[in-house]
Amino acid sequence: MIDVFLFKTLSAGILVGLECGMIGVFIFLLNIPFVGVAMAHAAMAGGIWGIIFNIPTKLSAFCLSLISSFLIGPMTDKLKINPNITISIIFSAVMGFAFLGIGILKGNNEMVLNFLWGNILLIDFFDIILLLGTLILEIAIIVIFYKSYLAIMFNREIAISLGINDKILYYLIFFLIGIIISINLDIIGGLMLFSLIITPPAIAYHITFELKKFFILSGIFGAIGTAGGIILSFLLNLPVSASVVLFMTLLFIITTVFSPKRKKYGQS
């Protein structure tokens, strides 16, 4: 019984690690680390208002997170500001919505905490199918538009001059980030999500100079970190989210110290 339970949790953890690790490459190279936090809070606000209006919380969380992801790209382009500013504005707005909802709910905080910490141990078959589906979608987008995304992340002006439709692809990435975050949020929670989208690409950055390998390594480190954290938590009877985040941080420290890139090419 325990084996089946562990197998289910590990399978989900590996899928989560793979997809968060790979989407993290975009977040890392586009330098928008707080997009994860903003969208996680958008989903949380959506969930809270779902309870108030008696709508399935998964659906309302998903919708608000997607709306936020749709807004970031066009707002950044129209206002001609740094995407991190747009992300911060959206973050503040959804936080306002979330706290307004918490005020109206008066005391029903269990679901709010669930959005922060998630519960990977309670994952069901439907969640695993959803995770698998989003992973396939993500890989398909990366493979189809690989060269275009490489050009956009390298230099947006050069990408445009090459005839790449940068706007659609830029918005598509925010949309994909929105989908992945809202699907993963109540499985792993916002805090672990933040670690899973930032730390794996930060680890892979120390290892490779090739974007293809960067995507693969980031996904693999996401999966190793999640699986390692889950196994540790089972062995030592520790909280899963905390174990995963700490295990991932340990991997980051090890790769930083032994980074082949830094060793060969220096620190600065």
């Binding site: 190279l29 060269k147 230099n155 002006e157 001059s161 100079f209 090419y265």
Partner: protein
Amino acid sequence: MSCTVEIENLYIKLSDKVILEDINLKAEHGDFITILGPNGSGKTTILKTLMGFYKPYKGIIKICGEICTEKNILNCRNKLAYLPQNFEVDKFFPILTKDIIEFSLKEKYYKNEKALKIINEFNIQNLLDKPFGLLSGGEKQKTILAMILLREPVILLLDEPNLNLDFLAYKNFLKIVEKIYNQKKLTIFLITHLLSHISDLSKKVIVLKSGKIVFSGDKKEIFNKKDYLEFIYD
């Protein structure tokens, strides 16, 4: 392919500020035009408007006889190659030099004869497997130039290529540009704010000041002016 560039009565406004005002210029096919002017005079804006990065507030741009609008901007861009001012990346950025070359190709560089030829001409064979972020300023510029030329443009836009290069590296870069100009007879627009950086092959000069063209003509004319430095930079 013979191709002219015509800018008629062009105005560009950015955030309600007029950046370019009543710009009129015509480049015949094979012209090598240097755009001079102090910082903030609107030199880069002209090139970026030709690329379609900015939408004219007023006026038209014709490339090879075709008026460029939002609808046919890709058509216009296909005739242009743009070397931006800045393409610096973090030195650990995960991109190899060959990846940059392959931006302009559908296949791998070694399967493309044109790519192999230009790699050879530019003498960048030994850079292909190196991380782009670790190349010198001159090597980076050569790589980007090789990549954009692979698209076989008829017009080449060079936006202050001297900015990240020392004088010697810039002179080497200019030699490559002059060789391409002689071989392919492209129309070239080169931006600089230094008179010493004008190519010998560039006969036409345009001087911009506060978004307006204040001089357009033969290079000799401007150097014959008594206080030409003051005229350009005051």
